[in-house]
């Protein structure tokens, strides 16, 4: 029945077209809206083709590949050492975290021991990178929702964390600092002190952020009961990280498959039950406190002397393969490395959390209001460098 026929029916016989509540049920033509690839809220170059019926989203098709730059293929042509800088550039918001699964896999394959002190340095920087990554999420998500000030606050404090990484590793965004058996060069004498000062400062500003964001009525109105993701859907789609924990599943590789110094650290897995955009934001806020606590434990327990890098070199003689995964800021970040005995990986396959988290977007979008699309997309927190690779 076409629209004009419906309208005629309603006009001629009011009883036919009206619902029990007295409201006229009408349906307009579906409209196709292109979101991206140049859109400030897609966090990179993502295109989503949305079908809109009035205010409701009826279909959503993500198109990826605008940042496909052959990570896996290029890595096959590099030596084991040369691969590490490429890993930085996958999830460029948390560069250091990307290096770890590959390095853990190669260390295990070639039997390199990691000194205790190096483990703590790695873990402290890993958690610092989580803070940096969540700060970018906070700034850009609030920018998407229409608030500019939290972006400026978040980037103000992110600079302080980047300064620590720059002073230690030599580069601020993509440090290329972890290496087989530890870290590339020794930390400077004030490293632990600087980290402690950052934790003390940052703990005082988190309530400021909370007042601007998760405790603010406007933010709550935009995110509560928006974009529900229940545990069953999340597990079926392979969602990991804060998105899964916000749906009530206590899955955290730092607990389940501990690596580096995590077995010695004391922390609880943060879970919330609701599974909406607000819960996902709340989990990331709790992880700020959790990361600071983990950094403080590293400062306390790390040996003050010792080697920063273990002895041994990469030597994988015959065909071997290994999958290692770590809990990065966005979820399970894994790498599958296969060796044929050569100088570089025969095959290197990345399991990136953003790519799998993106798969649930059609399920979350359909049936929601058009204006909530940006609020849902931002709460999933994807990085396109990692999606396309």
């Amino acid at each position: 029945m076409s629209d004009s026929t419906v309208l005629d029916t309603v006009l001629t016989n009011p009883a036919v077209g009206s619902s029990p509540t007295g409201l006229v049920q009408s349906r307009s033509d579906e409209m196709i809206v292109n979101l991206g690839p140049q859109h400030p809220a897609t966090h990179g170059v993502l295109q989503i083709v949305l079908g809109i019926d009035g205010e409701r989203v009826t279909s959503a098709t993500p198109h990826i590949g605008f940042l496909h730059r052959n990570h896996e293929k290029i890595e096959e042509a590099r030596t084991y050492e040369q691969v590490i800088p490429y890993l930085d550039r996958m999830d460029y918001v948390s560069g250091l975290q990307n290096e770890l699964p590959y390095i853990l896999a190669i260390e295990e394959l070639s039997g390199i021991e990691v000194p205790e002190r190096a483990k703590y340095i790695r873990t402290a920087l890993f958690e610092l990178n989580r803070v940096i990554s969540h700060l970018v999420w906070l700034g850009t998500y609030l920018l998407d929702l229409g608030a500019i000030t939290p972006f400026l606050y978040a980037f103000r404090d992110r600079e302080l964390a980047l300064d620590i990484i720059e002073k230690t590793a030599g580069a601020r965004l993509l440090p290329n600092y972890y290496t087989f058996g530890g870290v590339r060069r020794d930390i400077h004498p004030l490293f632990w002190q600087n980290l402690g000062e950052f934790c003390d400062y940052f703990e005082t500003v988190i309530p400021e952020y909370a007042a601007l964001t998760i405790d603010a009525p406007i933010f709550q109105a935009r995110t509560i009961d928006v974009g529900f993701l229940n545990a069953a859907t999340a597990i079926n789609h392979g969602i990991t990280g804060p998105n899964l924990r916000a749906a009530g599943v206590a899955h955290d590789l730092r607990k389940d498959q501990p690596y580096d110094a995590y077995p010695e650290l004391d922390f609880d897995v943060i879970t919330l039950e609701r599974g909406d955009a607000y819960a996902r934001s709340k989990v990331r806020f709790e992880e700020f406190y959790q990361s600071l606590s983990l950094i403080r434990q590293c400062i306390e327990k790390a040996p003050r002397s010792g080697a920063f890098k273990g002895k041994g070199r990469v030597k994988i003689e015959e065909y071997q393969q290994r999958y290692k995964a770590v809990e990065a800021s966005r979820g399970q970040l894994g790498v599958f490395v296969a060796s044929d005995g050569g100088t570089g990986p025969y095959r290197s396959k990345h399991r990136s959390p953003s790519f799998t988290n993106l798969q649930v977007i059609p399920d979350l979008f359909i049936g929601q209001k058009f204006a909530d699309v940006i609020a849902i997309l931002g709460s999933i927190d994807i990085v396109l460098g990692e999606v396309d690779r």
Partner: protein
């Protein structure tokens, strides 16, 4: 700057061409396009955020190409994105300028050997300023923006209509048909 420099008279009369005045005005409020592509986009955000604050030089990011003067290509451009990038460039109103930020946009960077990567964005759009680095620091991007400002204000380097480069769409061809060695 010619407008304020050589022809100053004691009676506070300044002589110059209208072009100089227009170029001076253009150079003082250049609005880049919000088009983050890859890693460099994070540093591009940083350059307009608290510590570096590009807004103080009049660089204010706009979300639509119709309102933008400068396109900052901040990341690797591949063949799929290259077509869209040219469309965005064509949608910008003239005069328009392009900053190529980072090694990937300059010549392909570490991904140069890849089968889908365009070896430099200057194959698709004409570039005014190249910023080296992987990724460049926010200071480097600020310097590029200031260099571009000087270029726009300088009458000897002013924008000449009709000299726009045509896009070389051969570089967007299928892998294997683009006539170069890749992995």
């Amino acid at each position: 700057m010619a407008l304020l420099g050589n022809e100053r008279r004691p009676e506070n009369i300044v002589l110059g061409t209208l072009d100089d005045l227009i170029n001076l005005a253009r150079s003082r409020s250049m609005w880049p396009l919000t088009f983050g592509i890859a890693c460099c986009a994070i540093e591009m955000m940083n350059s307009s955020a608290t510590r570096y604050d590009a807004d103080r030089f009049g660089f204010f990011y706009r979300n639509t190409p119709r309102q933008a003067d400068v396109m900052i290509v901040s990341g690797t451009v591949n063949k799929k994105l290259g077509k869209r990038l040219r469309v965005l460039y064509d949608q910008m109103a003239e005069p328009r300028w392009v900053i190529s930020m980072g090694a990937c946009a300059n010549q392909g960077g570490p991904f140069r050997q890849g089968y889908s990567v365009v070896e430099g964005v200057d194959k698709i759009v004409p570039v005014d300023v190249y910023v080296p680095g992987c990724p460049p620091r926010p200071e480097a991007l600020l310097q590029a923006l200031l260099l571009l400002r000087d270029k726009v204000a300088d009458p000897d380097m002013r924008y000449i209509p009709g000299t726009q480069m045509e896009a070389d769409f051969d570089v967007l061809a299928e892998p294997g048909k683009d006539g170069r060695e890749h992995l």
